[in-house]
Amino acid sequence: MHTERRKLLTIVAEAALEQRMIKDVERLGAHGYTITAACGKGSRGVRNADWERNGNIRMEVVCDATTASAIAAHLKEHYYDNYAMILFIGDVEVLRPEKF
């Protein structure tokens, strides 16, 4: 079965950023995204969802390498200083390259 390589960009950030991150990734060329609720801990301390929007979201974007680094660069520039956020990029195989 024929597959092609794409990048899987995973972003974990504070839930308050959800709407803005969605706008950003779509504007920067992602054809879709998947979000799950998450909690966790990092340099900005513990973040858990059990009150208001104090939790994290975990966003995944499957896209080509250029889009991935464009998004990564944008997020780093706009959010890293003031918001709880990390991101990492991995390699994945997809069936319908045209979708991503």
Binding site: E14, A16, G45, A49, D50, W51, E52, R53, G55, D81, N82, Y83
Partner: protein, 314 residues
């Protein structure tokens, strides 16, 4: 000064949280309780509102908004120059204390009821009016007017935030439906009010416990401010209530509103508009100190204050 039973639930949550109990209400339930409280408060206010004339309310509304603008202007210099906090932090905390906490309002209402003290029941209107102004002041204090803040998304965030939408919606529905129109839904919104408040406070206690543990990091000044400023604000609020000719109960409620610090609408707005402000700082103060202080110690004090003002002022 006897504690209202609902406050005992807060204590239970606080103790359990400090003892690191695994106890937690699911966030969906916390949301549910908040929605019930906001709607119930709005509905009660709306029903009463339908009995008032705008003529008598307008001046009071203006005065209350003015208070919402002045309080953060007093808080800011204290935080910035006495507390030596960074500008954005000082501005953000000032906004929190200029705004209001609906949970604190609810406890005040429950306390007055248990004391048999009546008050102007359209006061939820003031809660709505007080949420916004301090936020504007806080942002201007952080940014200056010069540097263009993108106000549109911000206004959207605040005006369409959960608390204002539900309070205003409740006010309008209560106002439109009137006392008997509300009857069929009072089972859920009014008969359960205090029980719902009790559960809400249980969770607030657990949340507060989480904040308290973080307090150490921020030093003594923040704790002192989080107790002293509310009392100062309460005096102003009580004075204003008295000047506006509110009843003893109404004066106590306005004092409570002045003394209360936001932990829902303002944090969200500040995160958006003043991201460089450390959110854990303002939450530690408003949730970790001011909220418990107000519901356990403050509210009875503010009622006493209102009483003496009225007996003095005759």
């Amino acid at each position: 000064m006897t504690l209202d039973p609902v406050v005992l639930f807060f204590t239970l949550g606080l103790v359990a949280g400090l003892a690191r109990s695994e106890l937690r209400l699911p966030s969906a339930i916390y949301e549910f309780l908040t929605v019930l409280l906001l709607l119930a408060i709005g509905l009660k206010g709306g029903v009463e509102l339908s009995r008032q004339s705008l003529g008598t309310l307008a001046p009071q509304m203006l005065a209350v908004i003015l208070m919402g603008l002045i309080l953060p202007l007093i808080a800011f210099p204290l935080l910035r120059y006495v507390g030596r906090l960074k500008r954005p932090d000082a501005a953000s905390i000032a906004a929190h204390y200029g705004s209001v906490s609906v949970g604190t309002y609810a406890v005040a209402v429950a306390y007055l009821a248990s004391q048999g003290v009546t008050f102007e029941e359209y006061m939820p209107l003031f809660v709505v009016l007080l949420e916004m102004p301090a936020i504007v002041v806080g942002i201007v204090l952080a940014r200056g007017i010069t540097r263009g803040t993108r106000w549109a998304p911000l206004a959207h965030e605040v005006f369409l935030g959960k608390s204002i939408v539900l309070l205003t919606g409740g006010l309008l529905i209560g106002w439109a439906a009137g006392a008997e129109g509300i009857q069929p839904i009072k089972g859920l919104f009014f008969d359960l009010f205090k029980g719902v408040l009790a559960l809400f406070l249980l969770e607030m206690g657990l949340i507060t416990a989480g904040q308290v543990t973080g307090l150490r990091r921020y030093g003594l000044f923040l704790v002192v401010f989080a107790i002293a400023f509310p009392m100062l604000a309460a005096v102003m609020g009580a004075g204003l209530g008295w000047m506006l000719g509110l009843s003893v109960g109404g004066t106590a409620v306005l004092a409570t509103l002045a003394a209360s610090a936001s932990y829902i609408a303002v944090p969200a707005a500040m995160r958006l508009a003043v991201p460089e402000a450390d959110p854990s700082l303002s939450l530690a103060a408003s949730l970790g100190v001011t909220f418990p202080f107000n519901i356990m110690v403050g509210i009875p004090l503010y009622l006493a204050l209102a009483r003496s003002l009225h007996s003095a002022g005759g």
